[in-house]
Subunit: 199 residues, 2 copies
DNA sequence: TCTGGCTTTGAACAATCGTTCAAGTTAAAA
DNA sequence: TTTTAACTTGAACGATTGTTCAAAGCCAGA
């Protein structure tokens, strides 16, 4: 053994994530990144291989944080539907405060990149599919709890949520804080609310 | 008077539009652009001022083409609702064939750019608002024709369409051709279909 | 045919891009 | 204390970035 790594890997990835999220892949230069995460090029390349490598780690971290947040919302309430709504709302309002941009990093990435970065593209797509799958899990729970109708396929509902969620975040980027976010989120589920109740 | 302009301005903007649409603003270098539109830097800068200037023209052209296409769909049928559905469907399927990417250039632009390009950002936002306004016009027609319920505010319906349209285009970028586009578009309007008919 | 004024050309600019690597620094093991 | 292997540093690389401008080309009017 010898000298150990001095930087905090997670902290570095978090900072890179913020920067990539704000400025996009092509809009973020390694120079700006170096300043922001306070590492010299040699260290960055030793740790992450390339600009792409670091971006991939940022994508993975972003997805992980999203999953954790969803689980956290789930554990705060007995209602799966409320958990899903809370998640969507907080992702969108946090985003108007502290986050770099309202738009999901994954959606932003698949919009920006081409076949010239196939690995990053696939990572972003896979993460979006994983998130949709997590939505479906919650939707099935909501159906079993009698909150959502069972006549609709859970996969279709998850798709519906995914489409509306990403569309909403784009919409907010255009109109800003004047968007009645809560009302819109309620309306996403409104046609599928069940009047049954199991107690 | 003297020597006139030799290049076809509209044709050049169209080619630039395709390239910007495919590769994004930061992903498109002036060198690639020069090759694609077959103009030397001096001519480009004389005609458009800057990379931003040309991009702005591309945004304007994209919006104009969109509006024309919507009008074209409208004139092909007596049903305002069918016109709107046709527009959405063809934008999305054309896009899987000839277009550079499924994602709307305007949405792609507001996702990519930051305050560092305020003029382009505002142009894209304004164009998105204009398209939503065109949607609303069609929706009002559809309400008067008894195709859509009048109990819902036309502005809210236009917002709903805008959100779902941009969300759908992002969704298709992830899943590709396996997405049942027609079914999804129908479902966007399904909750608001009126059973009244005026004949 | 010549001239005047606009357009087009493309080499060249400084700045910045992503990346490399030899030299310096560090701390655990001997 | 010395050795040693891993980590950090930052100058430097060639390539590419957006942009400029003096020179060459072109055509309408005289």
């Amino acid at each position: 053994m010898a000298n150990n790594t001095k930087f905090d890997r997670d902290q570095v990835i978090d900072k890179a994530l913020q920067l990539y999220w704000r400025r996009g892949f092509h809009g973020t230069s390694m120079r700006i990144l170096q300043d922001e995460i306070d590492m010299r090029p040699g260290s960055i390349y030793a740790a992450f291989g390339s600009k792409e490598g670091l971006f991939k780690q940022a994508l993975i971290r972003y997805t992980q944080l999203g999953s954790e947040h969803l689980q956290q919302c789930r554990s705060k309430t007995t209602s799966p539907l409320s958990a899903l709504k809370d998640f969507m709302l907080s992702r969108v309002t946090d985003t108007q405060m502290s986050s770099p941009t309202c738009i999901c990093l994954l959606a932003k990435t698949i919009a920006e990149l081409t076949d010239e970065n196939p690995e990053l593209l696939e990572q972003a797509k896979a993460s979006l599919k994983a998130m949709e799958s997590s939505f479906e899990t919650l939707i099935i729970e909501a159906q079993l709890a009698g909150e959502l109708v069972q006549s609709q396929d859970s996969k279709k509902l998850a798709r519906h949520v995914q489409i509306n969620f990403s569309g909403l975040r784009t919409y907010i980027r255009v109109y800003g804080a004047q968007v009645p976010t809560e009302e819109i989120i309620d309306n996403i589920f409104a046609p599928y609310i069940s009047n049954k109740s199991f107690h």
